[in-house]
């Protein structure tokens, strides 16, 4: 995470406004273990039946499981559906 982005994130926290309004941080939401919504992403790195990797500003998010299907992908968000077993964050230092 860059210093400027870090500052923007902290400012958003102090002002009690949504973090993604000021910073470039990704937003990850899960609906049980069936659905993952990642906002503010930079693209798909790997798409396989049992693994999906999504690139973000802070690093990569790897979702492991089975029967993966990308429900929707556009410039802003990606919705992944399937049986989720594991989510790994490989963050930049």
């Amino acid at each position: 995470m860059s210093k400027f982005n870090n500052f923007r994130s902290k400012l958003a926290d102090e002002l009690e406004i949504p973090n993604d309004a000021l910073s470039d941080n990704f937003d990850l939401r899960m609906h049980g273990n069936k659905k993952v919504i990642i906002e503010n992403h930079l693209g798909i790195k790997i798409y396989e039946d049992n693994m999906v990797s999504v690139k973000t500003n802070d690093g990569d998010i790897t979702i492991k499981g089975s029967k993966f299907k990308i429900e929707e992908i556009n410039n802003y968000k990606v919705i992944v559906k399937g049986n989720i077993k594991e989510i790994i964050f490989s963050m930049k230092e």
Binding site: F68, K69, I70, E71, E72, I73, N74, N75
Partner: protein, 401 residues
């Protein structure tokens, strides 16, 4: 997501199959070009996904270069196809227009509740007011037509106009002619309306033909409307007027049970629900007639929106259990009850200005019943005015012939 898919089903979408091992790269290219991709699935060494038809047209060069569209789907695309099927399109258009015209016009006028002559008159009246079949339904103003028909004809007491399908129905109810009242200057006689003994005759005009103490029967003349002219010795007809009081006797026989069966409600009840469609009921929940003795009440439950649009409602029926019990009725209560119902009956049979002179009431009883035997003597006006008509004398004319 459902709304999103439905929207693209109408606007059109393209299903694309990509036989590429490095499919992630293609997805990222599409993302960078701001193309929304959905339903991405792994299929036989490649991926299958959907994009909107608008995006496909906008980036067709790129898409055709790197992948192949499998099929195009959507309502708008189907409509576009109709451009090439001109004959079918024109036929469909004509069918829709003619269906619209046929259903938006009145093709027949039906008059219910009157004879053919009046029906013709009503139709002529409508034609005078520019309502000739076929006529557009929008031109029909029911309330205005009802007023027009009601005001134009005097013999209708009720008029209702409504449109049913392509038919204009005019429902009329004719007035029943009232029986004509006897005018004060018309020749009339007064006859007896009941069997009675005459107690007083007050004749203001006409010739009284009964005396005090005479026994008269129903229909017998009391005051005659034909009197002799003192000067010319001829009989003339006059309007009769007067009051004739007569003694009438009313006999009553009544009985009342000593023990009566009365149903008393217990606090138990059971509910049954029916689905009511077009007047037919289908049982959904509960049992019919769950008790031997019961009181049944039902009410309609209207389903919001559904009941307004269709004739579907829910009928709720409640069975309240009742237990039959025997009640002993004492003598005084029974006698009072019989007396009250006797006087009620007497009031119905007598005139308003009647006066009771003597009443003989006897009570008796047996094992099961209390009895009342009574005779009531009443003085009342028994006269009833009837119109009299002159009989034309044709005997002289026949003699001359």
């Amino acid at each position: 997501m459902l709304i999103f898919k439905l929207m693209y089903l109408i606007r059109g979408y393209v299903v694309i199959h990509l036989d590429d091992i490095n499919s992630e790269k293609t997805l990222n290219i599409l993302r960078r070009r701001n193309i929304t991709v959905w339903d991405v699935e792994n299929k036989n060494k490649g991926i299958k996904f959907k994009i909107s038809y608008d995006d496909y047209i906008r980036h067709s060069e790129l898409i055709n270069e790197i992948m192949k569209p499998v099929r195009k789907k959507g309502f708008m695309l189907k409509l576009n196809k109709l451009k090439f099927r001109k004959g079918f399109s024109i036929g469909l258009f004509i069918l829709i227009v003619s269906l619209y015209l046929l259903t938006s016009m009145i093709w027949e006028v039906e008059v219910v509740g009157t004879n053919q002559i009046n029906t013709k008159k009503i139709i002529e009246l409508l034609q005078e007011n520019q309502i000739k079949t076929p006529v557009s339904i929008s031109q029909i103003e029911e309330k205005k037509l009802e007023t027009l028909i009601y005001n134009s004809f005097e013999n209708y007491k009720f008029v209702e106009v409504f449109v049913e399908g392509s038919k204009l129905i005019i429902f009329v109810k004719e007035k029943i002619p009232e029986p004509s009242k006897i005018k004060s200057n018309e020749p009339s006689s007064i006859i007896s309306s009941k069997n009675a003994i005459i107690s007083k005759v007050i004749a203001k005009s006409g010739q009284p033909v009964v005396k005090e103490g005479s026994v008269v029967y129903e229909g017998q003349t009391l005051i005659m409307g034909i009197v002799k002219n003192k000067n010319s010795e001829e009989f003339v007809m006059v309007p009769s007027d007067g009051i004739v009081y007569g003694k009438t006797y009313y006999n009553f026989e009544m009985k009342e049970e000593k023990i009566r069966n009365i149903n008393v409600a217990t606090n138990k009840s059971k509910t049954v629900y029916y689905l009511k469609i077009n007047g037919n009921s289908i049982k959904i929940i509960g049992d019919k007639e769950p008790y031997e003795n019961y009181n049944y009440r039902e009410s309609n439950i209207y389903v919001p929106i559904v009941s307004k649009l269709t004739d579907i409602s829910i009928l709720k029926g409640v069975y309240y259990e009742e237990a039959a019990t025997e009640v002993q009725i004492d003598e005084k209560t029974a006698q009072n009850k019989m007396k009250v119902s006797m006087y009620d009956e007497l009031l119905k049979r007598c005139n308003e200005d009647s006066r009771i002179i003597k009443s003989t009431i006897n009570f008796s009883e047996d094992e099961d019943f209390y009895y009342l035997i009574a005779q009531i003597e009443v003085i009342e006006d028994i006269g009833e005015k009837v119109r009299i008509y002159p009989i034309e004398d044709t005997t002289e004319e026949t003699k001359e012939d």
